[in-house]
């Protein structure tokens, strides 16, 4: 090998570089999706599960060649549940990372701050917070909700308590957090619309050590159903414990957190979880023959390896929701033939019955809440098994 060899090698490298460069030029630019997720902090369990779904969907789509040949580049930022950080990262995603889509943030309190910012910047935003105030097609034309609204949680619970269980003396219990106060108020309003005034209503600190008093007062007020609106599993467990220890046979109907797996360990006795009903989803409810809906089962079989080999100990609907958000982006980009925000808006507003795993979504120019009412149903709280639940009896 002399000079000739070296020259040949150099030429080879140069040629390789040129080929690489032209290939890079030929490949379409990646699709950048921002994902604002509170992976740490006080509200991390939902975000961690959703992140599994988002990540899995992105990997799947990329392995299959991307969306219309464009790979997805996912930019995940951990907001730690802090609205100030969420605003910072939203601006970073828009102005520095120049993303074409933003998914999240996870919590309503953060979304309230980021939705107007993303609207002003003209970036399509998939909202996964439940608070009703987040969506407004006129002020935030590019914000589309993929999860149910808070009302879609409260209404089925109210209907179940009033119509199925045939109760009319409601005791409302909320926590003093932002979400708790807002939902307890909304629940009282919806009940009054149905002609029922709660016989007892109280807000308690989510870390209050004991709820014997509150439950005692509810009982003394003649309540025949207890409806807790709180996402704090500790508080919900104490409601159930106080009910069980007082030997009070009253149904408890409320927020999905009422059936969250961590509750099991916080209960004094497993039977305290009986006669409790929480709002759940058709997609993560076992049918009468003990099977999951087809699409849920298909996703579960594919993703199980990723989530660990044993039975799931997280609520699978979180994973399904995260998975769906990426596929909604895929649907919008494919149908719009690009990432032009106005075109995306048009496509999403014309979307009718897009079948996802978590739900079937439809948006219209006047309705940016894509989640249909009939995709929720009541679950029996103590039936958690492998990520999903059983339906509550309908009489």
């Amino acid at each position: 090998m002399g000079n000739g060899g070296r020259f040949a090698r150099a030429a080879g490298i140069a040629f390789g570089l040129i080929v690489l460069a032209s290939a890079a030029q030929a490949a379409p630019p990646p699709l950048r999706i921002g994902w604002l997720s509170s992976l740490t902090g006080a509200l991390s369990s939902a975000a961690i599960a959703q992140n599994q779904g988002v990540q899995f969907a992105v990997d799947e789509i990329n392995a299959a060649g991307g969306i219309a040949g464009r790979k997805i580049e996912l930019l995940t930022y951990d907001t730690a549940g802090d609205p100030t950080k969420a605003v910072n990262f939203a601006k970073k995603l828009v102005f520095e990372d120049k993303v074409q889509f933003v998914i999240g943030p996870v919590n309503s309190g953060e979304s309230l701050a980021t939705v107007p910012i993303l609207a002003k910047a003209g970036i399509p935003n998939l909202v996964i917070g439940a608070l009703d105030e987040l969506i407004d097609p006129h002020r935030y034309p590019l914000a589309f909700r993929a999860i149910n609204t808070n009302r879609q949680w409260i209404s089925p619970a109210n209907d179940y308590a009033l119509k199925v269980l045939k109760r009319s003396k409601v005791a409302l219990i909320g926590d003093t957090s932002g979400y708790g106060t807002a939902s307890t108020k909304a629940a009282a309003e919806l009940l009054e619309k149905a002609g029922v005034k709660p016989v007892y209503s109280v807000l308690v600190d989510p870390n209050k050590t004991d709820l014997t008093d509150e439950m005692g007062k509810a009982r003394a007020a003649g309540a025949d159903v207890v409806m807790p609106w709180s996402a704090a599993t500790g508080l919900l467990a104490r409601v159930l414990n106080a009910r069980g220890e007082a030997g009070w046979k009253v149904p408890v109907v409320g927020h999905p957190a009422l059936m969250a797996p961590p509750i099991r360990k916080l209960l004094n006795k497993p039977e305290y979880w009986e006669n409790a009903f929480a709002v759940g989803y058709v997609s993560t409810t076992y049918t009468a023959d003990g099977k999951l809906p087809e699409r849920t089962q298909a996703l579960l079989s594919r993703i199980r390896q990723k989530l660990g080999t044993g039975e799931l100990d997280l609520m699978f609907w979180w994973v399904a929701l995260g998975y769906d958000t990426v596929h909604i982006v895929e649907h919008a980009v494919k149908a719009a033939g690009g990432t032009e925000p106005a075109a995306i808006q048009k496509v999403l507003e014309a979307t009718h019955e897009l079948k996802g795993v978590f739900a079937t979504y439809s948006w219209s120019p006047t309705q940016h809440n894509g989640f249909p009412d009939h995709n929720t149903l009541m679950n029996l709280a103590n039936t958690f098994h492998d990520g999903s639940f059983q339906a509550a009896p309908q009489q």
């Binding site: 802090d82 100030t84 970073k92 520095e96």
Partner: protein, 324 residues
């Protein structure tokens, strides 16, 4: 100094995008509060860890007046400052007579009470849902314009703080921090001085709250967590108590660092705690003094030893002795 000022004024032109400008505005808002708080913490030694409560009050006053009642934003900004000062007075009156730990704990309790009341008074504050906050009218409605407003307010506040610290009562304040008893003994009007400084810090916290709320464009009680109060406090201690540049640098570094280095954000408060502990143990004067401390250590200023040789004959003459 001049170069720094020019840099700050020219920042909107230098900033590559709106995100960087947003961070600059955020730093400005924090600094307005910290400049006032620094007088209380760094100069008079009133360890308030609950200034986030005053920030929240300013933010909500601004949001309620300018957002809901359509008051002119500049008037609302002034009202927020005034309300912050008033609440600072109310908090300061009973608690400034208390010794250090008692005072710190009552400011902590104050911050908790404020967030409790914000949640409880839902009709006024929007409760857990929070309030949308309007921006300022033209020409401050652009990010660069808003930056200029923040810059102007922080310049005025810094100037006032600097004036107080250097010219008016700076020495008296430091004397109060180091030994309240000794300060009182030499005639420093202890209580009035402490209260004035604390009310001033309340005014700046109220102003900061109003600007912060407008920058965030939406506020909820979740925004004003205790951790934020701790953050302000750490900025001052790390930067160095008893100086103005130190806490300013502390504010800049601690705001930018978690943005730039993701693992630090994961550690969150642990990182702030560690920094605070290291500074307290190793460098109580703050990182702002690191250079001068190191210089003292390695290149100490050599004190010339002057041999004192008394001029005995002259002394003797002065005393009227005769030469032997």
């Amino acid at each position: 100094m001049l170069a720094g000022a020019l840099f700050l004024i020219g920042l909107p032109l230098l900033a590559q995008d709106e995100y960087q400008l947003h961070l600059a505005c955020l730093i400005g808002c924090y600094w307005i509060l910290i400049a006032g708080l620094n007088l209380a913490v760094g100069y008079t030694g009133q360890l308030s860890i609950g200034h986030v409560g005053l920030l929240a009050i300013g933010a909500y006053v601004f949001a309620i007046l300018a957002g809901r009642n359509g008051v002119n934003p500049y008037l609302a900004l002034g009202a927020a400052g005034g309300m912050g000062g008033l609440c600072g007075l109310l908090l300061g009156l009973p608690s400034l007579r208390l010794p250090g730990f008692y005072f710190a704990m009552s400011t902590l309790a104050f911050a908790l009470i404020v967030s409790e009341l914000i949640l409880a008074q839902g009709g006024l504050t929007g409760g857990g849902v929070g309030l949308a906050v309007p921006g300022f009218p033209k020409p401050v409605d652009t990010p660069a314009g808003f930056y200029c407003l923040v810059l102007a307010v922080s310049a005025v506040v810094s100037l006032l703080a600097w004036n107080v610290a250097r010219h008016m009562w700076g020495r008296a304040l430091i004397a109060v921090r180091d030994s309240a008893v000794a300060a009182a003994a030499v005639g420093v009007p202890l209580f009035r001085l402490k209260l004035t400084v604390f009310v001033f810090s309340g005014v700046t916290a109220g102003l900061a709250g109003a600007l912060f709320a407008s920058l965030q464009s939406y506020i909820t009680p979740d925004t004003f967590v205790f951790d934020l109060g701790l953050f302000f406090f750490v900025c001052i201690i790390i930067g160095g108590r008893g100086s103005i540049l130190g806490p300013f640098l502390g504010t800049v570094v601690l705001t930018v660092l978690p943005e730039a280095v993701a693992p630090l954000a994961r550690l969150g408060n642990f990182f702030y705690g560690l920094l605070l502990l290291m500074v307290v143990l190793l460098l109580p004067e703050g990182i702002g003094r690191l250079v001068s401390v190191l210089r003292e250590r390695f290149w100490p200023v050599r004190l010339e030893s002057v041999a004192v040789a008394p001029d005995l004959p002259r002394l003797a003459r002065a005393l009227g002795h005769k030469q032997p």
